[in-house]
Symmetry: C2
Subunit: 586 residues, 2 copies
Amino acid sequence: MYRTTTCGDLRIADVNKEVTLAGWVQKVRDKGFMIWIDLRDRYGITQLILDEARTDKAIFEQAKTLGREFVIQVKGTVIEREAKNKHIATGEIEILVHELSVLNKAKLPPFTIEDETDGGDELRMKYRYLDIRRNPVKENLIFRHKVAMEVRKYMSDNGFIEVETPYLIKSTPEGARDFVVPSRMNEGQFYALPQSPQTFKQLLMVGGMDKYFQIVKCFRDEDLRADRQPEFTQIDCEMAFVEQDDVLNAFEGLTRHLLKEIKGIDVAEFPRMTYDEAMKKYGNDKPDIRFGMEFGELNDLAQNKGFAVFDAQELVVGIAVPNCAHYSRKEIDALIEFVKRPQIGATGLVWVKCNDDGTFKSSVDKFFSETDLAAWAERLNAKTGDLLLILAGETDKTRSRLSVLRMEMAKNLGLRKPDEFAPLWVVDFPLLEWDEESKRYHAMHHPFTSPKKEEIPMLATHPGKVKANAYDLVLNGNEIGGGSIRIHDKATQKMMFDYLGFTEEQAENQFGFLMNAFEFGAPPHGGIAFGLDRLVAILGGQETIRDFIAFPKNNSGRDVMIDAPAFIEEAQLKELNIKLDLPLKK
Amino acid sequence: MYRTTTCGDLRIADVNKEVTLAGWVQKVRDKGFMIWIDLRDRYGITQLILDEARTDKAIFEQAKTLGREFVIQVKGTVIEREAKNKHIATGEIEILVHELSVLNKAKLPPFTIEDETDGGDELRMKYRYLDIRRNPVKENLIFRHKVAMEVRKYMSDNGFIEVETPYLIKSTPEGARDFVVPSRMNEGQFYALPQSPQTFKQLLMVGGMDKYFQIVKCFRDEDLRADRQPEFTQIDCEMAFVEQDDVLNAFEGLTRHLLKEIKGIDVAEFPRMTYDEAMKKYGNDKPDIRFGMEFGELNDLAQNKGFAVFDAQELVVGIAVPNCAHYSRKEIDALIEFVKRPQIGATGLVWVKCNDDGTFKSSVDKFFSETDLAAWAERLNAKTGDLLLILAGETDKTRSRLSVLRMEMAKNLGLRKPDEFAPLWVVDFPLLEWDEESKRYHAMHHPFTSPKKEEIPMLATHPGKVKANAYDLVLNGNEIGGGSIRIHDKATQKMMFDYLGFTEEQAENQFGFLMNAFEFGAPPHGGIAFGLDRLVAILGGQETIRDFIAFPKNNSGRDVMIDAPAFIEEAQLKELNIKLDLPLKK
């Protein structure tokens, strides 16, 4: 061992001890007759001291040659520090150095290894091994480890068995998003990397494994929106002989355990809300309920009063933004510009100020009386001093626009507090959703989700209205988990594939093994999967997952540090029985 | 929840309780007026009883229709059993059924769901979800979970951080064994699946992470010998600021913890043996030391005594097989046939019986005196009643042959006891090994292994003799882990790549990121990786890893259950910018 103790350990009680430390040179302060060095390792920083009077001349001179991030080993005596540093745990002592070895030199790093660095994102990613030396990144990775350990502990203590499912599986019909792997031994054939272990965990239930979990990498080759990764980690779970409430209770338990153990926070029973209610109240299936500003629908109060802009629309809906009645014309104009941006697409925004004196001032004073506006304010649960913001239009789009505005106002008002945690179950998701592009219904969750039994007949008449035994766990406006009770009989599963536009042959070819399994005694079962990257980021009080992943990829799916993906050799392609088929560049 | 309790829970103290159970029908015994059903779930078996006197007629009739593996739910009263079954935990009670629902029917399974099944390997794999219902397979998976949990607990308690490294990485020059993944977004380029997280864990050390571990899937596209899998699981570890002994001590601690916690066995300090000694004493770098039969070299005693077969050879070497002097001519002939098999390739076998009366009887009585044979016996530490078996020939091959014979004898004599555990460190492995095919030296461990510093000059003159700071952990004749102290400076790493026949361009292209990282302050570091599949199998007292993997692949790398790999659609290939390039079949 190159050290007897770490750079985070020594205290005043250790004075006079002879110690050996090893680590990185964080900083050298050379006063000519005296040199201080901050020595850093994973555990902290310890100050080293060398001076002309007490240090061997050769060592003293050598210390002057040390640069930032040099790796050194020192032997020395723990002494009490004159000027104590209360900001670090080792701040009462320093090491009077009497031996010094340079274990490795270092070139000047391309950015500073400090909590606040001067390195941009791409540079930090290219030199991720240096970025990881920085406390915030290092602490995030250690935090992630702690969360994963607690997840495993809780699940295992509750009788769940972690089972490793295979990574080399079979491509599925939604295969456009599969990464595939050519098989050398099976010419012309491909494995696929799993988008999730869905079918395997269901087979484990058929296999009687009863309670399964796994922290597992999943893969999706989709065009990367901000803050998505082609490989991501799930906490994947499944239970047999359960109904929806059993799954919700089990994973509410897990989430509560994490909040308690990791954050020290006790959370009351999680509220449950239907999908329909979430859309109506928040315009969103993952509402952030750390703050209010619930939607109020104003059709009955605001239509047919002569304001044509409202009258023609399917929905008039608003929110009361707390304490913003004082907004200036300029501030309000900025909000109007905000909702008119093409990404949001509203044509305008109606506002009403609930003045402190009980009067109202609005952009539609010409059309509505004080009494009208008072009724709106009441509907929106507004208080004196609030600002009402109202949109009108086609129902789904308008709700979605108002949801974006609600989140923007919350951000501006500092209501999205990273240290506050408001979990919520959203239940009764629709089974299907209409896809404009392919002009057919797709499974909203996945094709193994069971429709609510009593609504199955509606599949034939109003497929879009059929609800599923499907649920999401939402935390602070983020979906951190989603799952469903599954279909567990062949007839229903076949029917679902049929509704989803699979031919019998496709269904058999892709999922024959699952439907066959259902014929050999499949128990009722259901489960859930949590996105670990997102969960860890939110628990860590941050928004982006990338800082909680050791070696993330960029938005083009590249690892810029190792420069992957890359071209491979012709011989390797030949072995795999494939060749490139590149489009001609213009 | 479909049940109030499981099939493993109920005891005599529960008599008179009303319970709901769900599970699989293991067996129905229909005596006409009375029906017993064994109901099974993950936790055990509970006997159900229905009879004409006490059971509703409709339910009684329904019970007669139940088949094996039907999934049912019953409500009933716990009653004391007349004929108690001491072999199962619930054997004192049974359930008098008053409600019965069939949750799912089952076709007759293709093999029996019993501890000893009538299903062959391929059938069991095709219906793995049924195989998993069998106790031995189910218990193996639960055992694996327990081992993995204990590994994580120990590592985490000892300050190791589990960091997830990426699965989509870059192909390496030994890339023939890489699985590759075409990138859709980066045309014509490929990711590779990791054969191990080697470079990433080294970068974590450069990043100051200090103590890393990960239980992680690795991938190798090699022709599958028996009991290898294209995807396998490693316990991967790395430590900074350590020397070889520190790594050995840390992972001896882990192994001892597992033996204690999982098997209840206390093991003394693990013996350490050099590679050279292991080869000399056991002809093998992973010797099984649960039993003796150490090699004894007889050149000085057996050569130049007129037996030409020995005289011409590089090595004469033997073992003393305990208590086998009584072997018949036929038994000895079988051993001779054994070593002459082409897989072993010896040309003959010399034997000496150490008779109970102190005399010797051998196949070479004509050439050697009793005194000669007594000297051999002494050299081989033989006791009266032992059988000496002696081979001669070229050193490496002869040792290897005798090693196979030693293991065969141990197997025949029942010395390879599955409940006995004899760990051993083998250290000081050679740095390089000669490859006949490519006519050059390859890294024996991998190109990042550091040569012993004092032997570096020998690289130029006797590269095959240079030893590395490399070590294996051997358990009961199996390599369960291997590792090394790594190179941590660019100059040495470049030199190694040069010795291994990399051009400067290849080295830069493939491992430039690592060599660059070494220039920014890399600490001394080293580590180890354990094969989890093998470790679990050995701890479980078994030889094959496949029974400890939920969904294993067969020897052609196929998952016969889901039928993967498989052909994919033309459109999907097009999206990935590749096409098939199949050899013409003759």
